[in-house]
Symmetry: C2
Subunit: 144 residues, 2 copies
DNA sequence: ATCTTTGCAAACTTTTTGCACCAAT
DNA sequence: ATTGGTGCAAAAAGTTTGCAAAGAT
């Protein structure tokens, strides 16, 4: 929870103000130490207005403290940048598996080498099918 | 353009009807042979109602003929499933580079081996920074 | 005192849905 | 004749914004 204070200091250092909602949101974010949606956060801290949540998250993103990821078609999820990992999302059951970012470094290196492209790996999730759902529902067509 | 007819036949085979809008949309999709948004398609074929476009794309997706990808925060883009490639999207300039899917097979193999997860690589784009924007604006912070 | 943040309501963007009419089979 | 598709308008979902009041520095 010293983490939260460190982040709040960073807000202040950037000329921002540490308000009640912000302190609560930052704390919730640190405590969650996992992907949470804006709604999750709001619910976790006594329902501030969603616009407040989004604005706070924006501010934190500008500070480089949080990042957001699109797991699927719906809401985005936010997490602290130092918890850098990838998300494998099963399209069948919705299960989310976190995998270390290291798995992607070889791909990242290749994209950099061949295309000069530096990937930011964790902004979008990797969609597919988890182990359980592969055996269960083989309804997955392999289209021509 | 025999491609378009083949797809239309597939619609019919599935009990669907080949209407004017559908014929136009399928043709536009084949002609585009690249990522297009629902709006792009609508504009390309004389502005049918967007709901028609979405419904047609849904139908085509159920047939396994098209797939859609989220390139960024906004609209999704659609493409024929047989044009299987990945998209590298530059967050700075918006440029989209297509890369062969082969680059991802080693990653896919690893995810399958280690996590039993079978990735569907092209549903989300890979975000990052293209070669040009890496040199230009080094505003990219590397947060703690 | 100043400048930021809040809450609200309302706009916004993208996509979905209900419904009556129309068209392909 | 039947069943599926169309257009419209309106809703839905997620996020953003303008504004006046409240709060942090």
């Amino acid at each position: 929870m010293a983490d939260a204070e460190r982040i709040l200091d960073r807000i202040r250092a950037a000329g921002g103000r540490v308000t009640g909602p912000r302190r609560q949101l930052v704390t919730a974010l640190v405590d969650a130490d996992d992907h949470v949606t804006a709604e999750d956060l709001a619910a976790a801290v006594g329902e501030p207005h969603l616009s407040t949540v989004y604005r706070t998250l924006d501010a934190l993103e500008e500070l480089g403290v949080v990042d957001h990821v699109h797991l699927g078609h719906g809401r985005a999820v936010y997490h602290l940048t130092d918890a850098s990992h990838q998300h494998l999302v099963c399209e069948a059951c919705g299960d989310v598996t976190e995998v270390p970012e290291g798995l992607f470094t070889s791909l990242a290196r290749k994209l950099q080498a061949d295309y000069g492209f530096r990937m930011r790996p964790n902004h979008f999730a990797v969609l597919g099918r988890c182990a359980a759902c592969q055996s269960t529902q083989s309804t997955q067509s392999t289209p021509a």
